[in-house]
């Protein structure tokens, strides 16, 4: 099974909805370590991205429009980093009409590399990289093992969630949270949490869509 342009649009919508549902949680996490507006900012970014991708014709266009909207609408470090994540993903799927399981892994791999080179954070620094990196590793593993896309997404989502949770025990080295020093320990990083919500939303969307298709196949 491959991911079509419409599927990708639906994924961006699902991400937007999932983030909106957790907006106040994300703000609360951010107020422990940052300035308390991560939820508001990222929700506004993805809500604008949902509108921006309406007319997109290819997977690359969906991801690129999402990237540019996040970058310019959110601003700040999260705009730069989430924007870079989607921009690199877009560059990876250029020339493709739909996204295979392997390509899906490769595009987030490229996104992760972009985020690291832009933000300079490594795994363990209590940033979004700590959720993104295990998700990307899980997708690569699934691709090698030939796991179905649904299964691969579910594992990636759970790896991202575990990675986000693990940031609670880390000391921040980047962004505003770094200035909190040891007091950051005990709080989950809001950017990592957003990545976990993002992969969770994509996995849930894919599972529901397939369940719906099976239902309609059953009726037929």
């Amino acid at each position: 099974m491959t991911i079509t342009t419409d599927n990708l649009k639906d994924m961006v919508k699902a991400i937007s909805t999932a983030l909106s549902d957790s907006k106040s949680d994300l703000n609360a996490l951010d107020s422990e370590l940052g300035d308390g507006d991560h939820g508001t900012t990222i929700c506004a970014g993805f809500a604008a991205a949902v509108n921006a991708i309406e007319e997109a014709q290819t997977p690359s266009e969906v991801l690129q429009k999402t990237a540019m909207t996040l970058m310019n609408r959110m601003g700040g470090s999260s705009g730069a980093l989430f924007g870079t994540l989607f921009l690199r993903a877009a560059m990876t799927v250029k020339e493709f009409d739909d996204v295979s399981s392997e390509l899906f892994g490769a595009m987030w791999q490229a996104g992760l590399e972009g985020v690291i080179s832009r933000g300079k954070a490594q795994p363990g620094d209590k940033t979004m990289v700590d959720a993104l990196s295990p998700a990307v590793a899980s997708l690569a593993q699934a691709s090698t093992a030939g796991t179905s896309l649904g299964e691969a997404l579910r594992h990636a989502a759970s790896a991202a969630a575990d990675g986000a949770q693990a940031t609670a025990n880390m000391q921040a080295k980047y962004g505003r949270a770094r200035y909190v020093g040891e007091r950051a320990v005990g709080h989950v990083d809001a950017g990592a949490k957003s990545i976990a919500l993002m992969f969770g939303a994509m996995a849930d969307y894919w599972a529901q869509m397939n369940a719906a298709e099976e239902d309609s196949n059953g009726e037929a």
Binding site: N27, S31, G34, D35, G36, D37, T40, T41, A44, M68, M71, N72, R73, M74, G75, G76, S77, S78, G79, A80, L81, G83, R118, G119, Y174, G175, R176, Y179, V180, G181, R183
Partner: protein, 339 residues
């Protein structure tokens, strides 16, 4: 954390635009608000002079919109509350500031400000604009130890750079490279330490930005409510200065015989009375150390909403910097007129 409800705003998502419109309506002789939300000088700088621009998160007013004008910045790109503007808006600001002699993109060192400025410079390179430079400024001694100065964040003490760099860039024949060197030199002679007593409210979320026990103050508080690293019991104005000034002096270090500018930045809700009482102790201690105060500036520049606190900054100056400090500047919130 308890939500603060009394903020005189309309809808949270309209804060930036509402503020900019009100600001531009108040100072039409000094600034103009563009359709895309940039604050630019009403009378552009003469052709052939270096343009100065900065992008930054809003919510710190009068920084930086109040520092656009002759002898100061040419263009300010205000971002959303506490978030640097994105690269496309910074690029637009660079184009606005260009008077044919290049543009210096100033960055107050925070992760988002730096990343977005870097991306804007990449966009400049793609468009073939090669006469654009970036300078990253920092001053807060609490945010990284001595020896790791480039890791420090940019706070209230950058006011010294903006004022004197602004005056420098007005001079005929000054080049982009010289402006960058001047900015770095002022930065390298500036040190700041801040303290906070009660938090400000994030105007978008309505949440207070940190919590602090009633009888404690936090030394090293950042301009977005980033908690600092040292809490101490709240005692008095003199006790607070006694804790803050020595680490500032030791960090540069400022030594006997130095001439310095002193700046007490009101972070939001202190009274002028309190700032004058604080400055009394600053003046006493500097005199004891035989450090000469050339000029003192007291007032709000970089605020964090209604946070109660202040930043104390010193800048070592020579005759050239003294002349730049005294040079005329006409911003909405910073005015220096020649005597």
């Amino acid at each position: 954390m308890a939500a603060r409800t009394k903020k005189l705003i309309n809808q949270p998502e309209h804060i930036l635009q509402d503020m900019l419109e009100g600001f531009a309506a108040a100072y039409p002789d000094i600034v103009r608000l563009t359709d895309t939300g940039l604050i630019v000088r009403r009378q552009p700088k003469a052709e052939g002079k270096v343009g100065l621009m900065i992008g930054n998160g809003s919510g710190h007013e009068p920084a930086m919109i109040g520092l656009v004008g002759p002898g100061l910045f040419d263009v300010n790109v205000p971002g959303e509350i506490f978030a640097a503007p994105g690269p496309d808006r910074i690029l637009e600001g660079i184009k606005e500031a260009d008077r044919g002699a290049g543009v210096l993109v100033c960055v107050s060192h925070h992760a988002g400000d730096l990343m977005n400025a870097e991306m804007a410079l990449e966009l400049c390179a793609m468009e073939g604009m090669d006469n654009v430079e970036m300078v990253v400024l920092y001053d807060d001694i609490s945010s990284a130890p001595k020896g790791q100065e480039p890791e420090r964040r940019g706070t209230a003490g950058l006011f010294f750079t903006w004022k004197m760099l602004g005056a420098y860039a007005e001079q005929e024949g000054v080049t982009l490279a010289q402006c960058k060197t001047m900015a770095e030199s002022i930065r390298d002679n500036t040190r700041t330490l801040a303290v906070a007593m009660t938090p400000g409210t994030n105007p978008v979320s309505g949440e207070v930005m940190f919590s602090l026990p009633d009888d404690e103050i936090e030394i090293g508080m950042g301009v977005h409510g980033e908690v600092g690293q040292g809490r101490r019991k709240f005692v008095s104005a003199d006790d607070t200065i006694d804790a803050m000034l020595p680490p500032i002096i030791e960090d540069l270090p400022f030594v006997a015989g130095d001439d310095v500018l002193v700046f007490l930045n009101n972070s939001g809700s202190l009274t002028q009375m309190e700032l004058f009482i604080l400055n009394r102790r600053v003046a006493q201690l500097l005199e004891e150390a035989n450090i000469n105060v050339y000029k003192t500036y007291i007032g709000p520049y970089a605020t964090t909403q209604e946070m109660a606190g202040f930043a104390l900054s010193l800048c070592r100056v020579d005759d050239m910097l003294k002349a730049l400090w005294d040079a005329p500047a006409i911003g909405a919130n910073v005015r220096v007129v020649q005597p």
